[in-house]
Amino acid sequence: MTLELDQFHAGFFEEAFESLDAMETALLQLDPGTPNAEAINSIFRVAHSIKGGSGMFSFTEVASFTHTLETFLDELRAGRMPVTRPTIDLLLKSTDVLRGMLRATQHKTPVDQQTSADIQFDLEQMLVQCAPAAVAHPTAQASSAPSQAGVAPVWTAALHPKETTWTIEFRPNIRLQAPGADPSRVFSELAELGAMALVAHPEKLPPFAELDPEVCYLTWTITLTTDLPSEAIQNILDWAEADCQLRTMESAPAPVPVTPQPIATASPSQDLAPAAAVPLPPPATNQAPSGDAGGLSAKAASADSNSIRVAIEKLDELMNTVGEIVIAQSMLMQLVDGAKPPRVDRIRAGLIQLERNVRELQESVMRVRMLPIRFAFSRFPRLVHDLSARLNKQIELKMTGEQTELDKKVLEKIGDPLVHLVRNSIDHGIELPETRIAAGKSAAGTLFMNAYQRGGSIVIEVGDDGAGLNLERILAKARAKGLVGQTDSLSDEAVANLIFQPGFSTAEVTTELSGRGVGMDVVRRNIEELGGTIELRTQAGQGSSVVITLPLTLAIVDGLSVAVGGEVYIIPLVAIIASLELQRGVARQLSGIGEVFLFRGDYIPIIRLHEAFNLEPRCRDLHLGSVMVVECDGRKVGLFVDELLGQQQVVIKSMETNYRRIEGISGATILGDGSVALILDIPGLVRFAAERSAA
């Protein structure tokens, strides 16, 4: 396969997956009682466009499935089949199957034919039950040529024996070709309906030098003679309607298709004209599509025609380059600081201006990497729909702040933890309707998801109005597991936080959803790996909520630089509680824990960084250096360092990418003097302290 074809495929799959997501969202919003006609049309257009694209690429299994799906949706659209809950469920299953088929096709792995055949069968069965007229005479199906996927339209020639000639003025909107639909696709589909001729009108073409390749200047007059009803034509034109000015009118008599003239033989003296009227050839199988999956996404693309897709790698490179500029600028500033007048003031002024510009550039690049959190939230309506049905619960999902933006890398990694939290809420939090009613609540529980920006952080809340955590049961379980001593007294907050312990679960029955105790500790670890924190709030009988705080970006961190021996380390500011200069003799040795000191009523362990990293320190006495109190997982640790150097924003360089993973180090950065400083992995160091005391 050529690289070019791969690129076209990639474009098709990308658009198709986006369209399927939009289709799923539209299905979940569909009201069985009073279905929204435009929503059904949009859903139909997705299936139609995926069918077209897959047919064009000879993805026959996908094309065949989407053909059935399209037929089914057409019955809904025409009102011949009612929109019911089972109908919506079946369509949702169809999107799953289609997604799986597309994924398999994309990765060149076998399609799960059994599953797709089952759903296709269900669709056909429902069609037969609800709309017998449409499929009762399969042998009398349309006389038009089968499509590329080997499937034929369902319009029955017997019902419309009389041929009619239609004239269609096809005037694509100015941006029809960018980034989506190609008129040739519409033409090839129309050609399947009957005898077709078209005339191209080039009058609006500008001088060649002024021609914008993404603008469609050509317009067409199409003459189509068919025995099929106008709806069959409209079906094909519908998806393009948002992008094209279409005028369909009945005309008579039928035109005689003009035989194509010998082409490309005009001498320079002859003005080359479009073919007078040419019947369309059989649908081309390898015209370059523009990757459009149409329908919902086409609309979105149309509305968003001022945006472009950019590979994340390019943005990473850009961010990296900006980081290098920041470092170079910082180096220059340090050099100037050591220089002498008279010109140094002017150089310094220039550098200050440069610093301001670089910071703006850095912020602009960061903004480019930001995506709305709705990309992570979008999966939850479906998840809640499916799980609540399976558990016989009534759950209303309320999502707010979906436009809140965060770094794409953070966004990618936050999805799974959110799924864990939502599943927990549905499975353990929200009660069954009868239980809720007995407790004086509404039968339907509420699951809320909220996101907002607070300073340099993004806060995501996931909660419910369910039963809340049963703290007594958690404590009993923790004692039974030996996680808490039989006589230990814990605050409510500390008890609630026990659910983040590995392997901890109070679920009496391990379900498919939860109860294996492998969820919450993984959630916490994932959040911490993102440099974030997680907090649990619960109230018996009122519900629970989890508050996740994440950095806006993984590319930059605000940190405090500290000296240990001859090295400089960066401590992320977000983890720092306090910096102290201990007085002589305040530290004690406790057996089983090691060196500790009293901080705000608690004894906290001290980690001497020179010991952890095997360095020769400038001082070994605690009162001669500084202790940084940092916190993670509700645990505090004092980090002993030689000296505090200052606060600064640093660009994070991955250790794994550039070297290898090192315990206690989360990354590296380059300082203004060109030297490398390592960024401390606070969760890792806190764990290290805990393990040391447990050993």
Binding site: Q177, P274, A288, S290
Partner: protein, 106 residues
């Protein structure tokens, strides 16, 4: 991939269309064609390799051809590509003789 220009001969200039001649190739193709618009007496456009082509590319080639004719300059369509031929016909555009081998001239 972009179209390549074979300028080994002083005249004519040959533009070889790539396997995939689509909207993404159009900006580069336009620049190549624009450079040849009134500088080359004869421009040969070789379509032999074309396996994928879209409306944007065909419109561009059509506009080039049209303007060359208005300037009384020759454009020769070389080679045969069923994809190219069918796509042009599907859009009602006359560009290339379906039986062309190497001498179809506009």
């Amino acid at each position: 991939m972009t179209a390549s220009i074979d300028s080994s001969m002083a005249n004519p200039q040959t533009v070889r269309l790539p396997v995939s001649t689509g909207i993404h190739e159009c900006p580069a193709l336009k620049q190549q064609l624009l450079a040849l618009m009134d500088s080359a007496e004869v421009v040969v456009i070789d379509v032999t390799a074309v396996e994928l082509i879209d409306t944007a590319a065909l419109q561009l080639l059509f506009a080039f051809n049209r303007e060359r004719i208005s300037l009384s300059l020759n454009t020769i369509w070389q080679g045969d590509s069923p994809t190219f031929r069918n796509a042009a016909t599907a859009l009602g555009l006359q560009l290339h003789d379906s039986a062309a081998t190497d001498s179809a001239r506009t």
